[in-house]
Symmetry: C2
Subunit: 200 residues, 2 copies
């Protein structure tokens, strides 16, 4: 059997480098150095840069997708799911700060790859959640709103700070410590703002 620790070391190094520098900005040698192994091992275990990148992309996507799937499909009220989503997403991303910008960047830079990837592995499907929104509007719980605009507001408020981390810190003139404190505050702030905007 193969030694799992080498493959694991490679993947961890690749995650660290790819997430910070992206596909185009990453050098195989840099991953090898980070993992402290011979460059040939990257190809031995992952065949090519593209394949290794795909493993990293997959891993990142599969970590974020459950959060989106939960708000799309879980059996709870919209209010409850908004609170849960914001809290869990921010907590997760505070520990994995490069994942949002990495995914967004690679999808933007390589639409064809994204298309192929999503066709093969599927994207979370918002239709059930949109149905739920329609029902809660019927029941008089929610104002009449466009569910897609609502989702866009939610994702924007939650993800932008991390996706545009560098720019946000520059424009607001804050250091990383302040940023992290603000993100903790946003766990309450965003649900309040969002829920207030949709409740009857």
């Amino acid at each position: 059997m193969q030694d799992p620790s080498t493959e694991q070391k490679i993947l961890e190094a690749a995650i660290s480098i790819f997430q910070k520098k992206g596909m185009a900005g990453t050098r195989m040698q840099e991953i090898a150095d980070e993992a402290k192994i011979n460059k040939a091992m990257l190809h031995y275990y992952f065949r090519s840069k593209q394949r290794l990148f795909e493993a990293v992309f997959m891993q990142a996507f599969q970590q974020l997708a459950p959060h989106v799937n939960e708000i799309f499909n879980a059996d709870a009220t919209v209010f409850e799911k908004v609170e849960s989503f914001v809290d869990k997403y921010i907590s997760f991303v505070l520990v994995n700060p490069y994942i949002p910008s990495f995914l967004i960047q690679e999808i933007n830079n390589n639409p064809k790859f994204a298309q192929t990837f999503f066709s093969a592995h599927g994207v979370p499907d918002p239709s059930q959640f949109e149905q739920q929104i329609a029902e809660e509007i019927q029941q008089g719980i929610l104002k009449p709103i466009d569910p897609k605009q609502f989702l866009l507001n939610l994702f924007s408020l939650t993800a932008f700070s991390f996706a545009a981390n560098g720019l946000v810190k520059g424009l607001l003139n804050i250091d990383n410590e302040t940023f992290m404190m603000m993100m903790e505050e946003r766990k309450k702030l965003i649900p309040e703002l969002i829920i207030n905007s949709i409740k009857r």
Copy 2:
């Protein structure tokens, strides 16, 4: 004198390629092909890839900065400036859809360059706007809010859709036409949401 049209052709081609593929993903030859000129001309007019990139980055930044400066420093009420900012920003970015993701990506991928660039050219300074927020809170126009969180909400709601264009379209399952219509709607939707959340 030099023929301005060649230098201009290069810059336009560079803008087109760099904004879509980023510094690391761009090839000088690709810019030359796009501009339909010899690759040596890129170096004749711009010396190096880095310098050409900086010209593109600068051009992008200088187009966005005035919008931010206006909300930070213009002499109008917070409500007025929110409405104006959202409308102008979305209008501008609908025509220049790659600028937000380009700036965000390059700042994230190259923090050192960003640092140097901002030190040399300056970032819009939010302090005066924060002062104005404090005053309007005193006057009972606004609820007590954190001005930085408020700005973050505004920027998030306005910029995220463009910064994460590909992901947004994938997750919401919308085509480009629908996206553009939604962005037009957001010119009214975002100010309503934002202003509602801060007015007394």
